[in-house]
Symmetry: C2
Subunit: 188 residues, 2 copies
DNA sequence: ACCTGAACACCGTTCAAGT
DNA sequence: ACCTGAACACCGTTCAAGT
């Protein structure tokens, strides 16, 4: 009962907007996360969202960046162990929000946190003994596998949460890829 | 000058509708391929499309199936050569239509032609010496890599056709994966 | 059967106006 | 600065009606 004025419903944070977007994405997938519904969830007029983000894709990119920012990188152990750890963490965080995954694969994926992960992967593969050119190819191949696997695992489970198959086949494929990369590194 | 009646603009074929959808997808990406624009391109009322397809996703699925149906499978040579040939053909056909790729990764991918390719892959990997369980994992891993690579290669190039990088790094990653799979097969 | 226009319930985004 | 309602140009989809 702060006041009776019904116009300024209280200034929303950028964080509140992203929280609302993530919630809608989780429950109803991409079509549910419209600017209008996000605004309604925050309790604000649709146009207010444009005070914080230039357009809808900017909201989606910011959300992706926030999720990628939470990924832990750079743990100890061998380069293989470190790569596996990143891949598992990435999978776990994205599978928890299946509605976000389609955005990830149809967007530019060029934010600072995406870069941070790509750079880390490249550095780890450089430490494997591969020449820089092959290390770049290997880090690209790993990113492809990780994102592809997450996409295939979640693409029709945004609501059913069927994807409880566990990371078994994910890890199997990842390790075959790493086997191939390691064998290539040992050739030189 | 067949007639002056302006209502029945001539019955469109299912094929004509898919052609129009593909054209719009190629030039303007997913948002350009709306039911209304497809209908306009064919020269028909929007509602007429619903005579042939129950909804928009059905149009998209049919288009994906048509593209996958053109993929050649089952050439001669070793299982590795056959897998590589399928992967290259799949890439070539999808990269030629970048606008279709996002649909592919956010749809069910359960049509008969998608099944045909998956079955062929599974059979080839069974011939590699892997036990059935590992062959299934390997065919899943390969599908993941192929679709993920195509997605990453095309996701921001639906209009610029930048993706002339060629299949080099695609083939490199594919071969590392096959190296790992082959090594696993030889263990048993 | 096949195709139509009108209508419904939505979109993203812009803009002039209010505080 | 920040937030608003009204408006514009779209969507997918349904439906009663025409041939």
């Amino acid at each position: 009962m702060v006041e009776a004025g019904h116009k300024p419903r209280r200034a929303p944070t950028e964080r509140e907007i992203l929280d609302a977007a993530l919630g809608l994405l989780d429950t109803g997938g991409r079509p549910a996360a419209s600017i209008r519904r996000i605004a309604a969830a925050v309790g604000v007029a649709p146009t207010t969202v444009y005070t914080f983000f230039p357009d809808r894709t900017a909201v989606e990119c910011a959300l992706i960046e926030r999720l990628l920012g939470a990924v832990r990188i750079g743990g100890g152990g061998s380069w293989r162990e470190a790569v596996e750890a990143i891949a598992l963490d990435l999978r776990q965080r994205l599978v928890a929000h299946p509605g976000v995954v389609p955005l990830l694969l149809s967007g530019p994926l060029d934010g600072p946190h995406a870069q941070r992960i790509a750079d880390c992967l490249l550095e780890l593969l450089g430490a494997s003994g591969l020449d820089p050119r092959s290390a770049a190819r290997a880090s690209y191949a790993l990113m492809v596998f990780v994102l592809g696997a997450i996409a295939l695992e979640t693409f029709d489970a945004p609501r059913a949460m069927i994807g409880r198959a566990g990371p078994d086949r994910y890890l199997w494929g990842l390790r075959r890829m790493l086997d191939g990369v390691e064998a290539e590194a040992k050739l030189h």
